[in-house]
Assembly symmetry: C2
Homo-oligomer: 235 residues x 2
Amino acid sequence: MNSEKTKIAVLGGTGNIGKGMILRLALQNLMEDGVKNEVVIGSRTPETAQEAAKEALEELENCGFDTSDIKITGESNTEAAKEADLIVLTIRFGHVPSLLESIREDLENKIIISPVVPMVKAGPIFEYRPPEEGSAAQAIQARVPESTKVVAAFHNVAARKLQDIVKCKAVHDSIICSDDEEAKKTVMKLTENMGCLKPLDGGPLSNANTVEALTPLLINIAKLNGLKDLGINFS
Amino acid sequence: MNSEKTKIAVLGGTGNIGKGMILRLALQNLMEDGVKNEVVIGSRTPETAQEAAKEALEELENCGFDTSDIKITGESNTEAAKEADLIVLTIRFGHVPSLLESIREDLENKIIISPVVPMVKAGPIFEYRPPEEGSAAQAIQARVPESTKVVAAFHNVAARKLQDIVKCKAVHDSIICSDDEEAKKTVMKLTENMGCLKPLDGGPLSNANTVEALTPLLINIAKLNGLKDLGINFS
């Protein structure tokens, strides 16, 4: 392990959003300003995670990238969280409480990134269903040690755009919220080098509610107006 | 009165958002595809409204437009509502219940457009404070006759951009929500010709909550990131 590299665990990293995130994180090792990192994919079984790690490396090679400076491995969610400096939760909101319970002791002083959006399909449209804490991000904050810094980010990016590392040059805004200014800056720096995202300071975690709610709105607007994989820009 | 023209009342039309709205509505009379209309500004006293009407016409003339086919008048809010086919509520959320109470009997079968955003300044940031109905738009729906069609629109446009009829060519998206498809289409057509807005179908009125919440988020993001008069675009 190279101690200069940030070890990033992507828990639930075998899902749609996780896949693109892993590729975009790994590619930062090839960028001059990228955040040098090692990615550990977390999944319910280490075998699934290891398979996803192998596939991600193959995808990067197939796209023509030199992967000799890239490290992507797979572990169980609990092992991945243990090793990581920074943890991305790409899991469904319903699984958040039990997962946090299982990794709680390994979260001291770490950063957790939440792109989690609690939503349900109600007839033809998606509805945001925030928990009583106000947002998924705040529900996470309520379930981790006090020293853990929760940062809400990456909610409003379409999985397909995130995964399309070669062709997707669209730069959408990504609103980043946190009550910890240092952690927010770290994640904004990470976002700057995701290749398809531009970070915007979204203020405190109490603003995460609106940012999360944008995701079902984007899906609804896309469907209602015959559009696809919408992102958002402020200007 | 030309019966082919839509009579539009802009209640609270002497405020910042109202001013720009009136200019953009009036200008539609000079556009081939514009919705031909007569604007009645509503205010607490007819004198204030008449003064605002005179100023709006002068502003259009000063910008070099021929105002001979444009009609902007001023009335009390109740008189303006009585005459109108379509009513725009550019008032603060706190004033909504008493105003609706005073014009209730003149609302049968009419369209009400709500750009109303209930928000408060909490320390350095703005916070969205929806009423128990879910949004200002839904609170309005609960206070009008059953035949009145409420359309949520024009929440996320900066007053300064709306007022700058000559220079502002920025085209931002405006999300339009309503439970009445015909009324929604009417307002989308109106929006198309506002000169700085592109309408997007935002689905039912229950989606207005997120659209309203975007306004304080836009103000917060602008302040936090050193930006100004932000609008929103989906792509």
